[in-house]
Assembly symmetry: C2
Homo-oligomer: 350 residues x 2
């Protein structure tokens, strides 16, 4: 709640601005670092706004979709000349909202800037920081990627012990968890990734096998080698050619959970997928999902995952970049696969 | 059961032979009419075979898929030089199987010929002919197309009153029933078909609207006109361009039941479908299904549908061709849309 003091604290606020709608791969130069010289840290009397200091910012593939006007008519695209918006961890500096107080740590949509004014509390969670885990985990394994993997695997994939599971973009923020959840369930799990380093990482995380899709001349042959008996569950993060190849290897009553299709986000026209008749032949279910639909189950998820983290049974790999000014490069790097694990930008430590 | 008589009845048996694997649209000349001069009507002692006289044969789109070697590795393709196999209604002439007796009417897989020897009873149903409905109905509304529409709509589509439903190939054996079931459920239903005659038929059957896809220069515009608020349920019979267009009009949590993709069966390479990211944006479920998985619910289905038929609340349009020798033209006609309603070939009246 605003404390009613007359003096208004004003600070400089460094920001990452989205310049204009783009086509093709995003570049650092599509964003600009600017500074608001007159950022007020006090909430005006009577307002329900919340002013936060941003600590960690999340780089997520879906953000590329907001850089074009036709983002599927579900999400609002970015506004040229305004700050990039994404998920972040922030500390409340001042609040006019009764549910949030100065000093609270929050997780939710915020701006790519040092300080933000949050005008909606929709999807804003108060973090009860379990101090034996890093705060950054609330952006990854304990945040939206974690809940995405949890809901996507346990709910959307309807997994059963012993099933054959394939995860694409498997070392990413979500994929690395899906693979570990599948192992906990007693499944056979293979992941694909884009470098040998990531392939080795997946094996260390307990994946039964992994392959570098960039070095496989024939995706069909790679899938046949890894899944001679076919695939029961495909956790889809990439789309395009990979989906087309996977379809041919699906088993009867297989399930495909579609979390995203990162390979398609930079294309003007998405690639055509040809092997959809497999859906009939094998009675396959393809289900798209959004983590936002699972927000009500966030606390249930925390109760599930925290013990596994503490016992060392589930691990999480983060790629942490320091400094807001390095945010654009980190975001752009998602699309060349530069990051290893969950990509995070540190704006401030506290 | 074989009656043990020594004299074996032998008849001429007219047959439709599948010549060889094909590409492109099937032609009448891909099949040949031949005659087995020495068809034995008695089951050998000790055999569990069943000899049947075929009455009605069903023309179904999936049969095209069996005319190529790579039929999805689930179904066995036809054997060049052997009779076409399909669903038929037949009368048992002699039986070595304890569950079937001379005079029984059966529904199941049989040959395109006057008499067949059935070596398996899997998927073979004994027809309890409700004599106030035509026997041919057991090939359509009371047979596999009926069960397909029932399972596909009520089970796979998870429909709710007031939802917006689109059916492609809507005047076909399955589509016409899906539309009527959707109306019974209180949905808004639009169908697409390939002639103006079929469009009028759909309106007579109670569809809220219908369009001739061959006369729509822009499928997107047609769908936008018919579904300004979008589509909750798409019952997919055609695939390809229609699926791609429909994806753009799906509503949040929409469902697509994939029954078949007839537009793709004659193509060497199926068309690419580009708009699959809609699955994520709108959290769409796409589910393929096979009627065979629902065979255990066949009697439940009959209990459901017979009262509607008797009360005139559900109607069924058949396209009946007389004579086995006209079977190839009837089968081929499915792919040009020649038939109006369920395509049936009458081999014998009783």
């Amino acid at each position: 709640m605003a404390d009613g003091s007359d003096k208004e604290a004003v600070v400089r606020n460094k920001q990452v601005i989205f310049k204009d709608y783009i086509s093709g791969f995003p570049k650092e130069s599509d964003m600009a670092i600017t500074c608001d010289e007159n950022m007020k840290l006090k909430v005006p009397a009577g307002s329900k706004d919340i002013v936060v200091k941003n600590l960690y910012l999340s780089c997520d593939p879906y953000m590329r979709l907001l850089m074009k006007t036709n983002s599927g008519s579900v999400w609002n695209p970015y506004t040229p000349g305004s700050t990039i918006i994404g998920v972040g961890i922030a500390k409340v500096v001042d609040s006019g909202h009764p549910d949030f107080r100065q000093g609270d740590l929050v997780l939710g949509k915020t701006g790519w800037e040092e300080y933000s004014v949050l005008k909606s509390t929709q999807g804003l969670f108060k973090i009860q920081h379990a101090t034996d885990v890093p705060l950054s985990y609330y952006m990854g394994i304990l945040g939206m990627p974690g809940l995405t993997a949890y809901a996507g695997f346990y709910d959307v994939c309807s997994p059963k012990k012993g099933e054959f599971v394939f995860v694409s973009a498997a070392s990413g923020a979500v994929g690395q968890l899906v693979g570990q959840f599948a192992k906990l369930m007693g499944c056979f799990v293979v992941g694909s990734a884009g470098t040998q380093e990531k392939v080795e990482l997946l094996k260390k995380l307990g994946f039964d096998d992994a392959f570098n899709y960039k070095e496989e001349p024939d995706l069909n042959a790679a899938l046949k080698r890894c899944f001679p008996e076919g695939i029961d569950i495909y956790f889809e993060n990439v789309g395009g050619k990979m989906l087309d190849a996977v379809l041919l290897h699906m088993r009867v009553h297989g399930r495909i959970a579609v979390c995203g299709m990162i390979s398609q986000y930079n294309l003007a026209q998405p690639e055509g997928v040809h092997n959809l008749m497999t859906i009939v032949y094998k009675r396959v279910r393809i289900q798209g999902f959004f983590v936002a639909d699972y927000h009500p189950r966030y606390s249930e998820f925390l109760d599930f995952i925290l013990p596994y983290i503490r016992e060392g049974k589930v691990k999480y790999v983060e790629d942490i970049v320091e400094g807001l000014e390095n945010g654009p490069a980190a975001l752009v790097g998602l699309f060349s696969g530069r990051n290893v694990g969950k990509q995070i930008v540190v704006v401030a430590k506290e």
